[in-house]
Symmetry: C2
Subunit: 321 residues, 2 copies
């Protein structure tokens, strides 16, 4: 079985070439540049792991992994336009440098090239894979729309938020695993549990992300803490706090949402702590992580084959923070 690092490296050497034609350079060069400024390639690694859980890694799993990575990057390019984000992975976003039209069109063509990679696979599993890929792509778009809709609402329930965040981020992690497992020849039963492992792990990861933005150690977290609070972003923490805080805590929290004072973050954190939001978030994260492990256990392959997925879960979810 392969480690995370070796899969990252294998994928990198497969993926490290030009993905688009040379002309028009005004369209394609920004995309090559964006793709080269890689993230952690988590989704491609999940594709490869999903395959290797059930058998030797097939060349098709690399084509699939590239398709998933291109799809993911396409969503980032378009999300950055919608969010008017100036930075992504520490660099100026595509639309910030090249204009919104080129970023829009570039995202479009990146999506088409994702399907080119799918179409490189042999025909055996193609229809099944396109079906799940498309279902997931639609869900990711739905998640983004719900996220935008929620930004306009004052009152979002926790279950609605979990539904949205799951569409926006978890289903692609889950599908990456399942898509890989289709290539590995997994049974429907095993595919289902693998998907659920990924879905629950993704939710746990998102809870952790929200938690760390509020309570994380800035040194370890790698970005400014309190950004979500400053911008009133709807997170697991804020939504639960608004649902559970009472009396003066609730009214103070609502006042703070209107405020831009310098001690806003500190004061919101103090309410969060008083209402036990930090402990609640940790418990909720653990609940989803337990669900994820439960589904991993249900997959009918030997324990040793599951080790890389356990390592990945540990890599993504730090239990000591």
């Amino acid at each position: 079985m392969s480690s995370i690092e070796s899969l990252q490296q294998s994928f990198e050497s497969y993926f490290k070439h030009r993905h688009f034609p040379l002309v028009p350079a005004t369209l394609y060069d920004p995309l090559e540049e964006f793709l080269a400024n890689s993230g952690k390639r988590i989704r491609p690694v999940l594709c490869l792991m999903g395959n290797e859980l059930f058998g030797e890694i097939h060349q098709d799993a690399f084509h699939l992994a590239a398709a998933v990575e291109l799809f993911h990057n396409f969503t980032l390019v378009h999300d950055d336009i919608m969010d008017k984000a100036p930075l992504r992975r520490g660099k100026a976003t595509v639309h910030a440098v090249h204009g919104e039209s080129t970023a829009l069109l570039g995202g479009d063509v990146m999506m088409v090239v994702a399907y080119d990679y799918l179409n490189k696979m042999d025909g055996l599993h193609l229809k099944k894979i396109i079906h799940l890929f498309n279902k997931t792509a639609k869900e990711v778009c739905e998640g983004q729309q719900l996220d935008m809709d929620f930004e306009k609402l004052n009152n979002v329930q926790l279950d609605e938020y979990i539904h949205m965040i799951q569409l926006k981020t978890s289903v692609l992690l889950a599908a990456s695993l399942q898509l890989g497992s289709i290539i590995g020849g997994a049974s429907e039963h095993n595919q289902g549990h693998l998907y659920e492992f990924g879905r629950n792990l993704g939710i746990a990861f998102q809870i952790q992300d929200d938690y760390l933005d509020a309570f994380g150690d800035p040194e370890k977290f790698g970005k400014q803490v309190g950004g979500d609070i400053q911008s009133n972003k709807k997170t697991f923490l804020l939504i639960h706090a608004l649902e559970t805080a009472k009396g003066t805590d609730l009214s103070e929290l609502k006042q703070l949402l209107e405020s831009t004072s310098t001690d806003k973050v500190e004061k919101v954190l103090s309410i969060y702590r008083k209402c036990g939001i930090d402990a609640w978030a940790n418990t909720l994260k653990e609940t989803y992580l337990e669900k994820a492990y439960h589904h991993l256990n249900e997959i009918a392959v030997s324990a040793v084959r599951k080790e890389p997925l356990k390592a990945l879960a540990q890599y993504l979810i730090k239990r000591d923070k």
Copy 2:
């Protein structure tokens, strides 16, 4: 063989249902509405004709036709954002009513659903069809990028313009025919000539479109004449006029490009006529139409099977205007 009208009707009854889920309605309802405000469904009709040229229309040709129609509509929704267009087919554009983010995301999801339709086809020709569909989709995006690039240039050569307009509009017409013919079981030879028929017909149509915007009868043309001249849009006419006008004609034309005076259209038209741009455009249109018919002749099927394509060419290209 089926007439244009009967193919339009068959497609309409296949296509007249919901294409997207019910929720989130904020994402999907605008798309249903946009698709229902149909155009002439030229591209789906071309898919069906491409099939019927070689054999009985297969159910897969309808799935294909729907995919092509969705792809075409996806490009319209996104182009309208880029062009900041307020109107499309006489109605407010998606982004004008629902905001740019929803239009962007809606276009994305429409593209995914186009692939859903492709994936409904049986596996036999799927890889070939996705290959040509994707090649065409990339070319359409390239055409749009070149169009935007050209807007920033003063000096665009006619051959560059033809290359751009061909990518932006003709290749999808050509590919619609060829894709349909793949389902009909056409040989590579016949597919190639059918594609070239569509490509040349598309260029002839675009020349006619530019011509009518300048010289058309407003009653028959159905939109305001002179809009391209008013907005300095690069067209076959303007590019050729800038290439061929001499002396005072050229300097006057260049001055008019800087002007917004009320008699701008009239004055530009007078220069066009003086330089014989109208006759030149008609000759160029005929040249491409002849090329189209040449390729139609080369297709090795009986003449009677080609009648609907001839009727379509006559429907698209009016020779008496």
